[in-house]
Symmetry: C2
Subunit: 197 residues, 2 copies
């Protein structure tokens, strides 16, 4: 997950979206006021409201943007890892280690959004659900076709979400060792199930 702070002279909509992304992800959505986004993006209020008719619209755009950013990174990182040695679900370990080690890591934006809004913002909830489904789909792609493919991918996704949360709880300095160790044990258990039966 690269930072998104290269936005010198892009069109205002992109500047706003990129700024909102960084602030929403770092500080939480509710904690981030529109005025702060406007000031940090260096646009005027009129410009902002011409691009996004309301804060809710910005939130939905943020979720789309984050989705594209994260899924893009995830697929790329998996590709990089499976080019190396790791096989099957085990690719997930170095990939997540890379993410958790990023100093900007603050958990999963979609988990955090559901935690903040629950079902009080249905469109946002739908976007979060869709994101997680896509993640499961990509994880399923690591597995050979077969009866257990979807079950194993769903279980691995449960483990990944758990590891994300545990990593979020750990101190920055620990680089999420507990989360990754737990995930490794889980994935090796799932591997046995997948290969042996």
């Amino acid at each position: 997950m690269a930072s998104t702070t290269t936005l010198v002279d892009k069109p205002p909509r992109e500047r706003i979206l990129s700024t909102a992304h960084d602030l929403f992800y770092r500080d939480g959505i509710r904690a981030t006021g529109i005025d702060k986004v406007i000031a940090e993006a260096g646009v005027s209020k009129v410009t902002f409201y011409r691009c996004f008719p309301s804060k809710n619209a910005l939130i939905l755009a943020f979720l789309d943007y984050r989705h594209a950013l994260w899924i893009g990174w995830f697929e790329d990182a998996l590709r990089r890892q499976s080019d190396r040695k790791a096989k099957g679900l085990m690719c997930l370990l170095p990939v997540l280690e890379e993410w958790f080690g990023n100093p900007l890591f603050r958990g999963c934006a979609f988990i955090n959004t559901v935690a903040e809004f629950g079902d009080s913002f249905p469109e946002a909830l739908a976007a979060c659900r869709s994101h997680k489904q896509d993640m499961v789909g990509i994880i399923a792609g690591l597995l050979p076709a077969g009866e257990l493919r979807f079950s194993l991918a769903s279980a691995a996704a449960v483990a990944v979400d758990g590891a994300i949360v545990v990593a979020q709880f750990e101190l920055q300095t620990s680089s999420a060792k507990t989360a990754l160790a737990g995930l490794e044990l889980i994935l090796s258990g799932l591997h046995k199930i997948g290969s042996a039966g």
Copy 2:
């Protein structure tokens, strides 16, 4: 997790805390104003601020209260299940199924709090970390003493947190089937590791 709505004539501090618990857990902390807690608890503003000098103090009291409530329920439910058939980590399945089936289920209050506040409220973060450590300790109690005890308990906790999050994402009507199926697969994998090596 029982509801907490039996608070007719308790002392005001308990009424406030119980009301705050229900609102904070259901709607989120930031989304719940002090005025709403006050109105719903049926106390006056002066009374409220005599019991809790600030909203942050109420939040910390809420986390303590929720911790006691949840850990109490968790230990009791595990005891009930291990009295029956389930053994070791497998006790977790019916226990979590019971929780996820509760219509008031809205995920883990501590995960949600970390998602809302991150490290912007260090005392709250510390309370959340402490809660999760206690949860890992209880899970470790399900396992025989041995080299792998702590590793397996940590891994199971990762899986439990993941299942909580996935259950939170699922529709109310699904009773969190995906989360529980994934957790079951994970726990059976961990069981193999624990017993065989």
